[in-house]
């Protein structure tokens, strides 16, 4: 009896250590290459780390701890960088992500509904073609659209010239999509002027974004029972009444997580901005991530870059907490409905 009890105890002890054993490899590696760098980042964000400290790191004799100076410099636009204002970049970053999602989701839903129309000819061909933007890697999309918006040889200006030709204007079009500093619609977004480059990127990202939403919406449309529509039309509801009172509410549980995903993706859409505008003109299209990259790759102010990354992390955390709440709320809605 006593023996079995002690072996049981030993086994129990082994059992209680087992989870940690399973976690050990991953946490050992993450400890060195993920968590240590994260902590290191917080430490150097309080220093004046620059290129000259690269070799010795924290052991450099002339490395100084300067407290919150990097953070204060970022927030008060005291960095010796032209046209940089943290809050303008932050405003633009949020506006960029929100305006994208608000265009992609309705367009995706509308086109998915359109393709569901009974008896529509060539449906399969349309569906096969509309899915293509989802399949091309965003990095390639970014490079291709960069060339399309080229001032002299780009396809966009050539297309506009052809359209102009129809209306009796044979002149070639030379719109400087990425360089024009004057906002086409002044005062549209207070505090952060939207230059032509913003609209060019919106066009490119719209091409990339709506087909994904359309695929998600098509899947959700499939799960709506047809009886609902039949009952509604017996009751005399028109097509648009059916759309607003049946389709839209029943699509919501599927579309909100997709919209949240699209928001996060657009919020950190590094390649588009970096490839197409480089954050310009006059930093009007700079996102948090592209400015952080600029700090570390071109300016090589590692201390400031680390502080900026810590700020990005806090912004990302707040965004996550909000979006998580939105997704949860819709899940409850789904369960209740």
């Amino acid at each position: 009896m006593a023996i079995s009890k002690s072996t049981q105890k030993a086994r129990k002890k082994r059992q209680s250590n087992l989870p940690y054993l399973y976690l050990l490899p991953a946490f050992l590696i993450m400890g060195v290459i993920t968590f240590y760098p994260l902590i290191y980042q917080v430490i150097i964000s309080f220093t004046n780390f620059e290129s000259k400290h690269l070799l010795l790191g924290l052991r450099s004799p002339e490395l100084e701890f300067i407290g919150f100076k990097n953070y204060i410099d970022i927030f008060t636009a005291a960095l010796p960088v032209e046209n940089f204002n943290f809050f303008r970049v932050l405003t633009f970053n949020f506006w960029w992500a929100i305006s994208n999602v608000f265009l992609h989701v309705p367009a995706g839903v509308l086109i998915a509904t359109l393709l569901n129309t009974e008896g529509l000819w060539l449906k399969k061909i349309y569906r096969a073609a509309y899915i293509l933007p989802v399949v091309v890697p965003p990095l390639v999309v970014a490079t291709v659209w960069t060339n399309i918006f080229d001032e002299r040889y780009g396809a966009m200006n050539q297309l506009l010239a052809i359209i102009g030709g129809f209306f009796g204007n044979p002149d070639p079009v030379y719109i400087r999509w990425f360089e024009d500093v004057k906002p086409p619609i002044p005062g549209f977004l207070p505090g952060a002027p939207l230059t032509l480059a913003y609209y060019a990127m919106m066009i490119a990202n719209f091409w990339l974004g709506w087909p994904f939403m359309s695929v998600v919406a098509t899947g959700a449309l499939q799960s709506i029972p047809k009886d609902l529509y039949e009952a509604a039309s017996i009751d005399g509801a028109t097509g648009s009444q059916q759309f607003w009172n049946i389709t839209v509410p029943l699509l919501r549980p599927a579309m909100i997580p997709a919209a949240v995903y699209g928001f996060t993706l657009s919020f950190n859409l590094f390649n588009f901005v970096f490839f197409m505008t480089g954050g310009g003109p006059a930093r009007s299209t700079e996102l948090l991530v592209t400015f952080a990259y600029n700090l570390v790759r071109n300016l090589r102010w590692y201390g400031v870059a680390a502080a900026f990354a810590v700020i990005i992390f806090i912004v990302a955390l707040i965004v996550f907490l909000i979006t998580n709440r939105i997704t949860r709320a819709t899940q409850n809605y789904q369960e209740a409905g």
Partner: protein
């Protein structure tokens, strides 16, 4: 019933194409004026979708090395000159296309495999065991996922840059930071930061927590009955893990691997920051080098051919995995 299940098992692209989700009751045909109106809208959307694709495909089949002075969306000629030139000499540097291809594949595959192998046991622990620090450790794994790749690049750059192999004045080889030359200098032989190894480590730093999180989400959905049956039959936890859970999780391991592949194939932030030797460049970096203001001497037909080549592997993987990708995102189990 049987048709329903077979419908479910089909590739989602096939399902997407065949889907009948119409809200009209069947049998009623569309009035002609409506058909024409909808066709016009569909064709307009089709034109906008095909515009950049046809543009780049047409360019890539062109043999003209001058920049396009007129819009061409339908190939006038099918010439593979541009493809051949890209394959022969992709950049101005003496680096072959095969080298670039190899670098891209080694990085994206290597990071994916290492991350998965290390992550799977941790994911299992989070999914099946109850232990004291479970919540704390799970939050810890989630923290790096919130950080965009750019956010971790600074400390990784600085730390990896401190690992250097140097040849001292007296011909001895030292590895910093473990040892140093006596005069404090020395000829640089190898800088971990400026190598594919370093980039691989940096990419694993974020790929690993993602793999743990993603696999944990999947393991949660595997029913526990099989494991419980194995335990009754006297299998211990290790045996259950290796002989039951791993084989069951194989499909999801493959999906996680390919999801990672799609991302790693396009990795640009870290490679562009870390690597300076042309022989270490990846395809994604080369494509960027051929774009816009950085590529005044690159003919656009070559750029177009390169764009098509870089896009192909991802397109193939994406089409094969459509169901898992879209399904995973909409259930909210996968974080991007």
């Amino acid at each position: 019933m049987a048709t329903m299940t077979s419908e479910k098992n089909k590739n989602p692209i096939v399902r997407f194409l065949n889907m009948n989700t119409s809200r009209q009751t069947s049998g009623r045909s569309l009035p002609l004026w409506r058909q024409i109106l909808l066709q016009v809208i569909c064709l307009a959307v089709l034109a906008s979708v095909m515009f950049p694709i046809m543009y780049i495909v047409t360019l890539s089949f062109s043999s003209k090395t001058t920049r396009p002075s007129q819009l061409e969306l339908i190939p006038k000629e099918i010439s593979f000159v541009a493809y051949q030139q890209v394959l022969d000499k992709p950049t101005g540097n003496p680096v072959t296309f095969n080298q670039l291809l190899k670098n891209s594949f080694v990085l994206s595959m290597g990071v994916g495999i290492v991350a998965l192998m290390v992550a799977v046991s941790a994911a299992y622990a989070f999914s099946r065991f109850k232990f004291k620090l479970r919540e704390v450790l799970m939050v810890l794994v989630f923290i790096p996922l919130l950080m965009p790749a750019v956010g971790l690049s600074t400390p990784l750059y600085l730390l990896l840059n401190q690992v250097q192999v140097k040849q001292c004045a007296d011909k001895s080889i030292v590895i910093q930071p473990i040892a140093k030359c006596e005069d404090g200098k020395g000829k640089l032989q190898f800088n971990l930061r400026d190598s594919l190894w370093g980039v691989g480590i940096a990419m694993t730093a974020t790929a690993l927590p993602f793999a743990v999180w993603n696999l944990k989400g999947y393991l949660d959905t595997i029913p526990k009955e099989l494991e419980e049956a194995a335990a009754i039959d006297g299998a211990n936890v290790n045996q259950t893990f290796w002989q039951i859970v791993i084989p069951l999780a194989m499909p999801q391991l493959a999906v996680t691997f390919f999801l990672g592949f799609i991302g790693h194939w396009q990795e640009f932030v870290l490679t562009w920051l870390f690597l300076s030797q042309p022989e270490d460049y990846t395809l994604a970096m080369t494509l960027y080098n051929m774009t816009g203001q950085y590529a005044n001497s690159v003919p656009w037909n070559r750029f177009a051919a390169m764009a098509v080549i870089v896009a192909l592997p991802v397109a193939v993987v994406y089409i094969a995995l459509q169901r898992q990708i879209v399904g995973g995102l909409t259930t909210g189990s996968v974080k991007g």
